[in-house]
């Protein structure tokens, strides 16, 4: 049989038509393609947040000048802090130990005069080192508040702004330092990873479990045509799901969309090729829907969540784990997605990632066509 055989395409179309009919008749598809993305988007967009609000923070003012008062007022207006002033560090330390305050800001004597003379000034922050995340966020937010205050007050106090500005390049693309802006594009990636592998994990196993695979294999359909025909409907569903997520992100959560739809489409397509292929391989390998689902969650969802750089920075992982992240397709998706939303089209970033994802897809596709043999065990 050659690719020019018109019957080949007709047979492939027959399988595609059958898959669509099954998708249409199966209510769980709707749940998987529409409801689950909405739930996950809601969870990652609203319920899960890495932001700290109303953190009780002790402040010790050793300067007692106009500048120090203004700075404390700025902190009080900032929603991240709930300021609690104390006369000395010793007086507030007890609170830090019991967790009543999460950190103590010490404004040193000479704060105002130092600023005016352009001398470096050390504003001290004492935090609980065992609460690493809180400590990190407090530090970040304190810097943000300092910068904000300096910018606002600079003219008034006649302080040059330049030296202070260089400290926080991280804020460039996330001016509000809202974790949601980083989480939502990542969540879209997780949704795609989950849907992609779950959708296809079931479909081959179902054919084997119900005995319909034997019927299909006894017909003249070529196996690559069978695999491809089964993939296409789920690729379309995966894209639809992605589109739904993007709409929720932009209109529901107010994310900017600086990139182009074309870039998003290409990235999403390449990623779906990889995860759909992965699901299909699992499905063809286990021949059992239950095992297949478990496996899809373990090999698709969890690594995407933990090892893609979505929740945990890859740079701060142990080296061995960092190597492991290279075989997680989501690792190549999430930075591209974040960039499409928050930065714009960065093709130097997209093209290598798309290429790698397509390689993943091709690898899985070849493995699947080899895993499905004409043989019934």
């Amino acid at each position: 049989m050659s690719a020019g055989d018109p019957l080949l395409w007709r047979r492939a179309a027959a399988i595609r038509r059958k898959e669509w009919a099954q998708v249409w008749l199966d209510p769980s598809t709707f749940g998987l393609v529409v409801l689950m993305p909405l739930i996950l988007m809601f969870l990652f967009g609203s319920a899960v947040t890495l932001d700290v609000h109303g953190t009780r923070t002790g402040v010790v003012d050793q300067d007692h000048t106009r500048a120090s008062r203004e700075f404390i007022a700025t902190l009080s207006r900032n929603s991240y802090f709930t300021v609690e002033e104390g006369p000395s560090v010793a007086a507030l330390e007890q609170g830090l130990r019991t967790g009543d305050v999460r950190g103590i800001v010490v404004i040193p004597d000479g704060f105002e005069t130092g600023l005016a003379r352009l001398q470096p000034i050390d504003v001290q922050l004492i935090t609980d080192g065992s609460q690493v995340n809180t400590a990190t966020f407090l530090t970040g937010h304190l810097r943000g508040a300092l910068k904000e205050w300096v910018e606002a007050e600079a003219g008034e106090l006649d302080i040059p702004v330049t030296p202070v500005l260089k400290i926080l390049p991280r804020y460039t693309y996330n001016p509000g330092l809202e974790s949601r802006f980083m989480l939502v594009p990542g969540a879209i990636g997780i949704v795609m990873a989950m849907i992609g592998s779950l959708l296809t994990a079931l479909i081959m196993a179902r054919e084997y479990e119900r005995g319909t695979m034997e019927g299909l294999l006894a017909t003249p359909i070529a196996i690559p045509a069978l695999v491809l025909s089964k993939l296409i409907p789920y690729y379309v569903l995966g894209l639809a799901s992605t589109a739904l997520c993007v709409v929720v992100a932009v209109f529901g959560y107010g994310l900017p969309f600086h990139g182009s739809v074309l870039a998003l489409f290409l990235i999403a397509s390449a990623f779906l090729a990889a995860v759909l292929g992965q699901g299909l391989l699992i499905s063809a390998g286990t021949k059992n829907q239950f095992v297949s689902t478990q496996f899809a969650l373990l090999s698709g969802f969890l690594p995407s969540l933990l090892l893609s750089g979505f929740l945990f920075e890859i740079d701060s992982m142990p080296t061995a784990i960092q190597w492991l992240t290279y075989i997680v397709p989501a690792r190549y998706l999430i930075p591209s997605l974040q960039s499409v939303f928050l930065v714009g089209d960065v093709w130097q970033l997209f093209l290598p990632n798309i290429a790698i994802l397509l390689l993943f897809g091709a690898f899985f596709f070849l493995r699947v066509t080899r895993a499905i043999t004409r043989r019934i065990a």
């Binding site: 027959a14 006894a218 017909t219 003249p220």
Partner: protein
């Protein structure tokens, strides 16, 4: 002068790995040879796990043999043109949620028949299968007979020269079975050949040739008459009175000189091991059937031992004064459709009561209402004096239930399944282990003790299911097509157990499509189109049918009664 064979197999062997690590390999086929000329119909028969399905899959190019030559349509099977072979796997490979039309068109396209371009072929298929009115119905909601017809149509949509049909008539009533036979022959183009596997030897009698496979080896090849020859001169018949027929059968089966025995028509047929007539007067020689030839060929020389399965049942007495099962006006409606209409009957302790009827007639609905699996729309049922509506748990405790479909845990071993079921029925400690030991010993399940239940051959699965149903020696036993798809030897063994269990005082309600099994029941209820159309002993039913045209055999009576009601229904409409 003869045309080249469509199929040629020479010395084909296949071995499978043991199901578990350390288990010995299974020799599924051992040096099988056969040829099939164009236009011939070959029946593949043999006990379960005898290698029938493996052989079919090898011919369909789905399993590679370890050794031997396989030529299909004149070419090695590796170069098989799948478009020219119509293979119907066991169960049909239909998509249950897709409609009749979607299934048929899928397989049509896969086999190179574009439905839009071949409307006359599609219409022909709908017309021949009688499925034209059910195009939009999901295939899972068809009756068993219609489903098999659809599967057959899907396999042969392209009118291939070779049709490989694996168990097309399993679980199908006698009327539908005749129709499926006709259908297969009508659908096959002129000169095309059919290979047909079956566990029903009557089917084999309709074939041109029969191949009997046992333990992977060919034990007989030739015309069906030749298979019957194997028992020629050994089959004896004696008339029996209407009463006490089961007891006569039971004692005949346990005699050392008897290979097999069955109740047919007005008396008892016995295949003698020696050829001589059994002791006693009134025996006359009769012509052997293929099934009797089958039994004689596979005879292991051992008489059936008295049922150890029944020995564990307490003697409950068989008084007919108290009903063990009672159905009073049982009715079930689904919207405007009535699945069972005003069904009433009683079963006494120790009685075997058979529910007969075509697929989709309402048997299973009635059965499920009495098991407490389905609430009746009106009417009531009691089991062992306990009302199914008000004392469902107590009623369930008193019954053993063997469902039509295998419903144990496929992932668990035989041992784990039995332990679980024993626990579920409240047996524990030594009571549980005694019950399990008894069942395992009586049904020969020892060698499968540690095997996964899902991987067992069908006949063994059925034995396990029967064992699970009787672990707690219930006073009432429900058996839903217990012998569907099992070979004649296992069927004989099953009925031996069932008869012995009934003799201890357990009431048995059984559904079946086999008329020889129906003959074995004390009384029968014939259900058609949701209504009870006849009730009584097998002899009553035959008399009832004979008033409408005559029937010496129960199968003919069955068909006559069904047809008569269909005709009345058509007149009324």
């Amino acid at each position: 002068m003869t045309a080249p064979p469509l199929l040629r197999l020479d010395g084909v062997s296949k071995r499978f790995k043991g199901a578990r690590r350390g288990a010995p390999p299974v020799q599924a086929l051992d040096g099988v040879s056969l040829t099939l000329a164009p236009g011939r119909l070959l029946g593949l028969v043999g006990p379960d796990a005898g290698g029938k399905t493996t052989l079919m899959r090898i011919m369909a190019g789905l399993i590679e043999p370890d050794a031997g030559v396989v030529e299909v349509l004149g070419a090695p099977v590796a170069a098989l043109d799948r478009g020219r072979v119509g293979y119907m796997p066991q169960g049909g490979a239909l998509y249950a949620e897709l409609s009749v039309q979607q299934n048929l068109e899928l397989y049509a396209r896969l086999r190179g028949v574009e439905p839009q371009e071949n409307p006359e072929r599609m219409e022909q298929l709908y017309a021949l299968t009688g499925l034209a009115a059910f195009r939009d119905r999901p295939s899972g909601k068809l009756s068993g007979g219609m489903r098999q017809k659809l599967a057959l149509a899907c396999a042969v949509v392209a009118a291939p020269p070779l049709m490989l049909l694996d168990e097309p008539s399993v679980g199908v009533d006698p009327v539908s079975r005749r129709e499926i036979w006709q259908l297969a022959q009508e659908l096959a183009g002129p000169g095309s050949s059919i290979v047909w596997t079956t566990s029903i030897l009557e089917d084999a009698e309709r074939c041109d040739d029969v191949l009997l496979l046992h333990d992977g080896q060919v034990r007989y090849a030739g015309p069906p008459a030749g298979l019957a020859e194997r028992a020629a001169g050994k089959v004896w018949f004696t008339p029996l009175p209407d009463a006490g027929r089961r007891q006569s059968l039971q004692s005949a089966l346990e005699r050392p000189d008897v290979v097999t025995a069955s109740i047919t028509g007005a008396g008892l047929r016995v295949v003698s091991r020696t050829g001589a007539a059994p002791a006693g007067a009134g025996w006359e020689p009769v012509a052997a059937s293929a099934e009797e030839g089958f039994a004689a060929t596979l005879d292991d020389g051992l008489p059936l031992a008295p049922s150890a399965l029944a020995a564990g049942f307490p003697l409950r007495g068989t008084g007919a004064n108290k009903a063990a099962i009672a159905a009073v006006g049982l009715t079930r409606r689904y919207g405007s459709f009535t699945a069972a209409q005003d069904i009433s009957f009683t079963v006494a302790p120790g009685e075997i009561f058979g529910l007969l009827g075509p697929n989709g007639a309402g048997k299973s609905t009635t059965f499920r209402m009495l098991c407490g699996l389905l609430a009746p729309s009106s009417g009531r049922g009691t089991v062992a004096g306990r009302d199914l509506l008000t004392a469902r748990a107590a009623a369930r405790e008193a019954m053993g239930y063997m469902p039509q479909k295998f419903s144990l845990y496929g992932d668990l071993t035989v041992a784990a399944n039995l332990k679980f079921i024993a626990g579920a029925y409240g047996l524990n400690g030594s009571a549980a282990s005694e019950a399990i030991e008894r069942v395992v010993g009586a049904l020969g399940l020892e060698e499968y003790w540690a095997s996964g239940a899902g991987l067992l051959p069908l006949g063994i699965k059925q034995r396990l299911a029967l064992g699970a149903a009787v672990l707690h020696t219930p006073p009432v036993l429900f058996l839903d097509e217990p012998t569907s798809g099992v070979d004649p030897l296992v069927r004989r063994e099953f009925w031996h157990h069932i008869n012995a269990i009934a003799a201890r005082g357990t009431a048995v309600l059984v559904t079946t499509h086999f008329m020889d099994e129906a003959e074995n029941c004390d009384r029968l209820l014939l259900v058609n189109q949701s209504e009870a159309i006849a009730q009584g002993t097998p002899a009553d039913l035959k008399r009832h049918a004979s008033q409408r045209g005559g029937a010496a055999m129960l199968e003919e009576a069955f068909i006559a009664l069904i047809m008569a009601q269909r005709a009345e229904a058509a007149d009324a409409a």
